[in-house]
Symmetry: C2
Subunit: 276 residues, 2 copies
């Protein structure tokens, strides 16, 4: 998917919501456990209930890998079920030396090899340029590079000072030598809205994938105040706040209600910014 | 496996060799393609031919994931085939927020969940403490944290100066607040032997996993000169140099010959240092 197509979807749906499919056997409604593949059934019902309200789905690979072969199959079937006009994110946080990152790129981008072809994959920057470049050789596929994450441990290294910059700022600057904003996005956590002001100085035009709204305590208005740009430039992820909104037979309706609240708030923000 | 057990294996086998199982369909001998699972057959023959010469096996998960469901099954079956007195490393370079890293820990350490229980997993440090801690809750399991990698991109961030330290030195220092040398090792690339002198000042007792000997140009003697400690403290990985030594029906014998060369060199080093 191109940047223009993504912005087109945002305008059409009046939403920049990403639904995180962090689906776990011990958290999905109990009545689903009778299905042959409870997590796949859960994901399908969540997707059916929210697909007109969001522009992206983001399964986190950890939640699938932990179930071994069956989990990997569930990830593949979930990807297949995501409508192809919705931006798909493999939240995998991969990164290795060049020839190995090339195999990870095959994993997430080459359907003939792995039966999956996500629009994007999250990548960790620690190993530098050649760990990221192999993901950039696929047309209309995206790297979403970790910059400033929403967890408490982000302070250990990401906020450390390197010359004039913090490490995450160094990542934002250096990585712009590898790709443009048409192929790279950044993960920027929502737990510090004002940080978006610093990020936008360095990456005014990039899309930012923003986890941490909801369960992790981030504030949508604050993020948009500092983070919105002329093509929206934000994908706001909510996982637990949406997918686990209900535990009964009506869990998908409850998920839809939560997604709708966020979509309505986003619509107001987009209208206010003259973006729709 | 405990640190003492690992050192015991090193003394018994007079080797600190790790064989990297970076097995790829386009690089294994052509005659294996007739098997139902060529990579598994390749791995089994490599393991049979080298298991008395090495103390660790390290499949890199990228080489398995890229083949989708079948690849994941091959990873599981390969883990099962590794003798349980040999240290097993899932070279996965994972790392995510706390609740997600906990799922990755289940993936690689909890056999009941995933059918695999490696002795260790490689972890990327960028997200900090809570991205690493969940891997440390498993008894006698290890985190092998990326410190200084062997690829060209390591200069982009790992060598950046933070106060008195380079980033990789900061990683070595900070992470020692999370675990001792009985549960944590570090990845330190072999392409700069003298760098081991700096690493040993900060981590004198830790085991170091050293990729980059062989195909990536590192030098065993140089690494040992600076890196050896009183319990050996080194696991030297060779992947392509061993597993792709031959392309004929005798590929496993050729792999054994290369592994034997390294084992003999290591034996000399261990004898010279009075460690056996």
């Amino acid at each position: 998917m191109t940047k223009e197509q993504l912005f087109g979807q945002i305008q059409k749906k009046r939403s920049f919501l990403c639904v995180g499919l962090d689906s776990s056997l011990d958290k999905i409604p109990k009545h689903l456990l009778k299905y042959e593949n409870p997590i796949l059934e859960f994901n399908k019902q969540i997707i059916d209930a929210t697909k007109d309200l969001c522009v992206a789905y983001k399964p986190n690979t950890a939640f699938y890998e932990c179930y071994g072969k069956k989990g990997w199959e569930t990830l593949i079937e979930t990807w297949k079920y995501i409508p192809k006009d919705i931006f798909s994110i493999a939240d995998a946080k991969r990164g290795d030396i060049g020839n190995t990152s090339a195999m990870y790129a095959e994993t997430f981008f080459n359907e003939q090899s792995s039966e999956m072809s996500f629009d994007s994959v999250t990548v960790a920057p620690y190993m530098g340029s050649d760990s990221v470049m192999p993901f950039l050789t696929f047309k209309n596929k995206w790297v979403i590079l970790l910059a400033l994450t929403s967890n408490s441990g982000h302070a250990d290294f990401q906020l450390q000072q390197i010359g004039e910059d913090k490490l995450f700022e160094k990542v934002l600057k250096t990585s712009q030598q590898w790709a443009t904003d048409k192929q790279m996005m950044y993960v920027v956590g929502a737990t510090r809205g004002a940080a978006f002001s610093d990020v936008r100085k360095l990456a005014p035009n990039h899309f930012l994938l923003v986890p941490g709204v909801g369960a992790q305590g981030g504030d949508l208005q604050e993020v948009c105040k500092y983070g919105l740009n002329s093509q929206c430039g934000l994908l706001i992820n909510s996982s637990r706040g949406i997918i686990y909104a209900g535990q009964g037979e009506d869990f998908a309706e409850k998920a839809r209600e939560e997604a709708l609240k966020l979509q309505k708030e986003m619509e107001g923000i987009l209208v206010g910014a003259n973006l729709v």
